[in-house]
Amino acid sequence: MMNGSTILFYLLAAFTMASALLSVSTRQIFRAAIYLLFTLIGIAGIYFWLSYEFIAAVQIVVYVGGIVVLIIFSIFLTQQTGEKLPSQRLDRKIFAALAAFCGFALTMLQVYKHAFGPSRQEVPSPDVRRIGQAMMGVGQGGYALPFEIISMLLLAAMIGCIVIALRIKPSKS
């Protein structure tokens, strides 16, 4: 029994996984960044499919609009255009693929052996009002303290970035 929602899910899943594989296997670094962009958009689509619209919006704004743009700028600053990445040694590739595949097989074996509780889908997904009230709540189930800690962390990261990337001018004397 295939309906539109199921077909959409499989399309999103195939798109996400294919662009992730291309992103780690292509030898042109700019294409790797663009495939990473497609992967992140596919994951945002899966969040939409799960009807977590707020997380999907955050994913698009922060990852697609922030991190990927930052990565593309740093590629422009550090790479020569049209230059391919050097090819890796074959044994290193084979061992990395073997390690990744063994880890994947072990994980999926554990996941399929584990019986999760029955899934309950009758509850609607949280809307933005509930999310906002919980994020600022200080009582049971409130996340005000981690929110404040994250704001301190972002401030520290911002100042740290400025200090690290600052070009030290040679002194006049």
Binding site: I29, I46, L50, Y52, I55, V62, A99, G117, E122
Partner: protein, 104 residues
């Protein structure tokens, strides 16, 4: 081809995670290694959302973990790129094989 559920999303998440691991082990360029780390973080986010949706739909803990992970990932990417650009200035290369001054 069955109705998608928790296991399907866990499968996607595992594929993304180990794709990221493969990329992290094979790449030798710092920016592509950072991209692999982003893939790994995204697979973890997908897992949190799937568990929140299918097992505890009335709670919002997974959702908040994802929000905070996204914020920390943004801070981490910014600091990492600042370090990479600084490394490029001093070594004119962002290959990890070239950045071995602390090794000897």
């Amino acid at each position: 081809m069955t109705q998608p559920g928790l296991y399907h999303i866990l499968l996607i998440s595992a594929v993304l995670f180990f794709t990221g691991v493969y990329g992290f082990l094979t790449r030798r360029n710092l920016i592509t290694m950072l991209m692999s780390i982003e893939l790994i973080l995204n697979s973890v986010n997908l897992n949190f959302i799937a568990f929140n949706k299918y097992l505890w739909p009335e709670a919002m803990d997974g959702l908040f973990f994802v929000l905070f992970i996204i914020a920390i990932a943004a801070a981490e990417a910014a600091v990492a790129i600042a370090i990479i650009i600084n490394l490029y200035r001093s070594h004119h290369s962002i290959d990890v094989e070239q950045a071995e001054d602390l090794k000897y």
